[in-house]
Amino acid sequence: MGYQAHFRVWRGDADSGALRDFRVEVNEGEVVLDVIHRLQATQCPDLAVRWNCKAGKCGSCSAEINGRPRLMCMTRMSTFAEDETVTVTPMRTFPLVRDLVTDVSYNYAKAREIPSFQPPADLAPGEYRMQQVDVQRSQEFRKCIECFLCQNTCHVVRDHEDNEQAFAGPRYLMRVAELEMHPLDTADRHQDAQTQHGLGFCNITKCCTEVCPEHIKITDNALIPLKERVADRRYDPLARLFRRRKE
């Protein structure tokens, strides 16, 4: 059975914007993205929204729904009461292009700052041999769909724009951890994690983990292990004494 829901959607561009009120039909089984599409089809054809898969796999439809960073296509309307106002705003941390679409190029810039996988010099592609147990930790991080919800929610940049330069964000610190734990990667990434990518900004308050739609344990499995590895090299004189590379 359908009903008329009260939606408040952010309309505007980088210079100005505001929430607009709509009454819009909702049918059984729908998600927030369906309703946004209905708005587009019936009331505001110029509403800008980014999406691709409607299956929670492309990472395009990130937004904030009643203040919570989520994928619009994975947020069921049945989680709201029929008389509840549903407020949809764009991701707050990135500059607005228009309506619900933000400019996420900060993330691409951060991705490029991380040196890519460096296999041993004497190994040609095709000769890589690895054991499953040795790559399983990194594989969890490969589930990332690059929705940037973690980057958006992390208070280090969300509340302090001035840290954007120095801080890569959870998604890219996780990338450093992924390569750091990779059995065939030869680069020394500890120092960079702290000095170049700003690992020390993270205060492990776990908001990245809380919002990740792929349920990657970013803090427990990537950031804290990376902090421990950095501590081995920078802050622990005993571990430095006994350290061996890439055991």
Partner: protein
């Protein structure tokens, strides 16, 4: 309240959060829980009595090990290698290590950064501070010493284990079990679970390895610690509660306010 800094180009920054749920409840509960523990701990330490029940050999966990000359007779199982420190009650010897372990714990850091420092109070709720440097500078850079507190926590937990063993003591001097024994036992199990589920422990036993396949035993240990580590928050709270409760129980028995419920001898 408004967001802490102005962000040109970003949308909807004038409001602190648009969350409609009770996001303030978890940090409030954390704040109250940790404050209650600290208040209890301070009162208890300055009380400086009622920590030893000679009849059943119960030693209150806050006062273990009791190594100063001020300790009541019978409570010092590991000798008294410090003089009576007067106003400084016996716990001042181990407390820095025990508190340091919890203060630098990755979970407690999250808990107090969120609830005491509001950095951030909850996800997608703006923090009230104008600037933020994280754990990069003194004093917070010292959080990197957590592993050393973990090393210290292992002997402390061992001492508490010894206390439980001797608490299987009956009124006639032989074997005995009371409710107090069981409370101390549950407490020490939780303390061990909390200690071994530590992130630094996880790193030390195997997390720092790149090739698990070359170290099957350490890989197995890492797997076990990882399983417990997923429950680290729950264990942090359970062991915090149990240590205070065990301490309170011994205090009540020692003061004569209640009598220990004896199950056997």
């Amino acid at each position: 309240m408004t967001a802490s800094t102005h962000h040109p180009g970003r949308a909807d920054t004038a409001i602190r959060t648009r969350r409609t749920d009770r996001w303030w409840l978890p940090p409030l509960l954390t704040f109250l829980g940790l404050t209650a523990f600290v208040v209890y701990g301070v009162v208890r330490v300055f009380m400086n009595k009622w920590y030893w029940v000679g009849e059943y050999q119960y030693l209150a966990p806050f006062f273990s090990p009791c190594v100063t000359g001020g300790c009541v007779p019978g409570a010092s199982h590991f000798g008294q290698w410090l003089p009576d420190l007067g106003i400084l009650a016996p716990p001042v010897v181990v407390l820095p290590f025990v508190l340091g372990f919890r203060l630098t714990c990755y979970y407690y850091r999250k808990a107090y950064y969120r609830s005491f420092w509001l950095s951030p109070p909850a996800c997608a709720v703006a923090e009230p501070h104008g600037s933020y440097t994280g754990e990069r500078r003194f004093p917070l850079i010292l959080q990197n010493s957590h592993r050393y507190f973990f090393y210290a926590a292992v002997p402390v937990a061992s001492v508490l284990t010894y206390d439980v063993v001797i608490a299987f003591h009956g009124a006639d001097g032989g074997f005995g079990v009371g409710l107090g024994t069981l409370i101390l036992l549950v407490n020490v199990v939780l303390i061990w679970a909390y200690t071994l589920s530590c992130h630094s422990c996880r790193h030390i036993v195997g997390g720092r390895l790149t090739h698990f396949s070359r170290h099957p035993v350490r890989y197995w240990m890492w797997t076990q610690v990882s399983r417990m580590n997923a429950r680290h928050m729950q264990l942090a709270w359970a062991s915090l509660f149990s240590v205070a409760f065990a301490d309170l129980y011994v205090a009540l028995v020692a003061s004569g306010a209640i009598t220990d419920l004896r199950l056997f001898n």
